[in-house]
Symmetry: D2
Subunit: 351 residues, 4 copies
């Protein structure tokens, strides 16, 4: 395996696509070699076609890359990151996998497929074995790996840290989600100034299911979802980055808060993740301040990869209340896909 590994970003001009490009800029293993975009952009340089919305400058070396169409023949690299909209992903990603590409996708299109893992390396790295199932069943030489919905991400890390020592039975989750989760242009300013949007299309369904799959067991070439029930309310608020989730959690039985705190704080990344460049350090940061975490203050913890938890306290109905914060376009999207690619390479290598 030769470093750096050249990679393609599909849908590179959108909000998540830009985050891929930004995070890959100084990545120790990967280097952006190809960017794709919509028909409107194809043939233009990245600089011409992309309204860059991140607060750091567009990386120099990608500015003059010509946008390619999101088609298999145009994509030279074996490792492909996908920031495509779901309907487009549904069509192109399997073609790429068939043609030998390993697609680390942020799209929701294939997350429900029994042989496609939703991966958080610090939670369920063993699910990557579904790659073998994909190859066997579908005859692919490549693969599709997905990362979860941005809101599912942080709360699943939190639940994992509780699941093993205590068991988790029931969860109420109410999100206060950032604007960047809706892409760009996404939410109209007139819709969110002095306002809250109490509905995000398709989001509650994802938040109620995806954690169960990630917390489930891999057996007989499929995943047995975890036996817990989640009820979710999802809201959009006037925050640029960082999803806040209020959780009430019922464990198998009552546990002292100090034990819970210890389990969260000391949650270790699985040994398989050690040495991967994106492994967050720590995986979970537990805050003691009474009014934290807050998105503006805490979203960049662990370079946006750490799950930040605070306000741990008893719940009068279930056992625990807490607040979980996770950076939605880093840990919850582009950074998560990159982390998944690192896990893949550590397990399967790359030609």
């Amino acid at each position: 395996m030769k470093i750096p590994i050249p990679v393609t970003v599909l849908g590179a001009t959108g909000a998540v696509g830009q985050r891929f490009v930004q995070l890959l800029e100084n990545h120790p293993w990967f280097e952006v070699a190809c960017l794709t975009g919509s028909d409107r952009s194809v043939g233009k340089t990245y600089q011409e076609s992309c309204r860059w919305i991140l607060p750091t400058a567009m990386p120099e070396h990608v500015r003059q890359l010509r946008i390619m169409p999101s088609e298999t023949d145009s994509i030279p690299n074996q490792l492909v990151f996908s920031a495509l909209p779901s309907d487009h992903a549904r069509q192109i990603e399997p073609e790429l996998a068939k043609a030998g590409r390993v697609v680390c996708s942020n799209a929701s299109a294939f997350r429900m497929e029994p042989d496609v893992p939703i991966l958080l390396p610090e939670v369920n790295p063993e699910h990557i074995e579904l790659v073998d199932v994909q190859r066997k069943k579908r005859g692919w030489s490549g693969a599709i790996l997905t990362n979860p919905n941005c809101t599912s991400t942080g709360m699943t890390v939190a639940l994992k840290a509780l699941q093993e020592p205590f068991g988790v039975k029931r969860v109420f989750a109410v999100s206060l989600q950032a604007l960047s989760g809706a892409g760009y242009p996404g939410v109209a300013a007139l819709d969110i100034l002095d306002n809250v949007l109490p509905y995000i299309a398709g989001e509650e369904e994802k938040v109620e299911f995806e954690p169960l799959k990630m917390l489930g067991k891999l057996a007989n070439e499929t995943i047995l979802p975890a036996k817990l029930t989640i009820s979710a309310h999802t809201n959009r608020v006037a925050v640029s980055e960082g999803h806040t989730v209020c959780l009430s959690i019922e464990l198998e039985q009552p546990v002292k808060l100090e034990e819970v705190a210890r389990a969260l704080e000391s949650y270790p990344p699985p040994s398989i993740c050690q040495g991967l460049p994106s492994t967050p350090n720590p995986v979970i940061q537990l805050m003691k301040e009474i009014d934290r975490p807050q998105p503006r203050q805490d979203r960049n913890a662990g370079r946006g990869m750490t799950t930040v938890i605070g306000r741990l306290r008893p719940d009068p109905l279930f056992h625990l209340k807490m607040v979980v914060l996770s950076h939605n376009t880093i840990r919850g999207a582009a950074g998560g896909s990159i982390y998944n690619a690192e896990l893949y390479i550590s397990q399967y290598g790359m030609k």
Copy 2:
């Protein structure tokens, strides 16, 4: 009883005090005759001492009123509205009640007292009979009536409409609260721009208890709290007015959503409230649009007195999910106290 009835507003220069003054401007029964404020303001005119923050102009006739101290001897009127901070209310409100004043208070100081009602006329008007208990037990010729915390308000109206036909057992409540709930100057702009504050001091305790008292039964000169349990998470968001609350509700048994919708939409104000100037019409507005209610669009429904409910849907853990919106400084504060005063006068008259 001679109309208009002259009234005093205690703490008239703050955010809630201003709302009292605004709402009383064209009230059919009441007229502001006296305003009190802190030592810093006493002796100045209202116009000089008050940084008016409401988007309508300061009423003409109060501009030249001189601020009086919040002391019994300075307060000539029998009917008194209190927008005092809780510690100050704790000291002065009983003195006023002893001296024959009827204090309609927005402060939390006495809400927990067994003989002080937390009143929402459309929910528990019969609790006003605690006035007689106060007079008997404490020897007061006046009384203290409180309205609930602004976040408790809307959700209690919603729960009441479900309690009678179906019974309510358990409730999860997560709030996204407006800035005006923190008073003025209140929250620093630097704390809420691009941010969420996941903690509001003392708020979760109030939201978990006050609805139980309001939904309780009056018996033997006290109130038996309703047998339901509430778990609350309270958050501050970048909204000027209007508290949004996400609710998951367990009823006594499963009920069809259409029946729930009917019960909410057709919830009638108690007959005792009919004819009171502030009785909301309707008490509850049920929205069918998938992304409503929203604070900027819906907070002024029924001149800020209507409770707006939307996103009625099934809950995978309990029975129902819904979103409740209520105007926090109108229905949830000043408007609520005025409504309570109307109820008092309709029952006890005024000399």
Copy 3:
């Protein structure tokens, strides 16, 4: 002339179109009879096709109106309000004028035509005589009347009040403009949260020219622009409604600030405007408070039709500094067009 006069709103589903519909709801002379929209909307009801963004409810009687195409044959009414985008207006408005419709347009398409007036009835009502020129030169039986760009509006009212008594030579104008000026969806939330946009396409050109035409003299069937020079910088800020403009003004000669204040405060609406329903009262409100006007507090002065001025003070380079605030979708758009229609009817009647 029979009251109410039925009217059509072109482009009724957009931000300005909605404002037309809202302001016409209880208009004493006009009644909405026909609404047009884009191909996507034609045939649907207004309620189905319009994402209503105003904080008051959609008027009942328009909810079931079917959207018509913006074509002459579909528009039954003689009086037509246009909230069309400029390119579309350029094509359809002359067809309508030829076919006898009087088009009161918010579009910029024809503002530069020598025989089309840019009208502010409290500033240049005599320019309406260009209707006769249009009819003579173009053979129209109808007419096109435009209102100025939203940013030009308030500052032109202010300059008019100074022009007559003192003469105005040079003006620096820097705007802080509201989001609604960009239509809906308009500005992306991610572009304006914690940000300023220092560029608005085409805006500075309009602000530098339109006031000259409005302040000019009508002579020989055309308008001689006023001899003053304006330099404009235009910015977008995170405000929903209300454009703020900082002005530095050079008069013909130095004038005492008190005289300037008097000229602004006492500026009378031309007698021709008296009795028109939308004539603002007062035309100009001069604020003495050191930190006013502010958009959230003052944009609704005179039901959004009054021009609010404050911070009158000397300028070290020119003579005066001041801040002007005007409601951009009421006085500066839909309300302005309606006011123009009232002026037209008072002068020309309606069949």
Copy 4:
């Protein structure tokens, strides 16, 4: 001179004080050794007494420092940074200078003194010679060096780059200033949400004078202010960090825009600044994108020390229009004071 040089930060718990602490964390020359605060904080640790509002974590090594009173005897270090309010600075800073401390102050208290320089090392490094005048005239062994008001900062850098090649005669400046310029808690959220504040106390006077002093010549132990006139309007907008200033500039005579662009882009830091750790690279960044600079995107250019200019275009009244952006708490406050300290040490050394 021994590295690191221990330094004291006066007023360390406020918004600018925190920025000093943050910027000094990894400074190659300086190390925070002492922090002072108000009576309320004295004796507590920094962590206990400071509500940290910056989005990076509070530096580890200062958390346990005990807050000292802002008094000469409590301040052990020769180099002192002052984030004190102006009235407090007026009293303590001369005492410190007399007692041999070199005070690099962000306060405005002494900026108008004829022997106190307002320093921007990339603009007027030679003004540091006023240190000798201070010592001679006042008998101080220390000194007071000030940095300008945050709004004056960026525009003075821009004007300097034009002054030398072309001469600058008259300037209109309208600011859109960030919240952090008002300190913490500073502006109330209710005052700025959906709003603009068109007044900042004392600001316009500073912006109209300070640049003249900085662009002036040092002669006969005093500074002859530059012969140019500035007219300023200052506004507060809903931005966390980064002041935007719209400028219209009259030069000595017309100059082609390309020449102006070249002068700005190639403006060199004075040779005396080369090698100082905080010298911005580049001093000025000239943006060609039509809608830049924007605070959220560009405020961190050159680690917050670069002055970013864009929208260079002709002005119909003067010669040039442009937009200048500068990070108000880095280049315009704490970072500027630190840069001044670096210049001082490079010229005078430190015992």
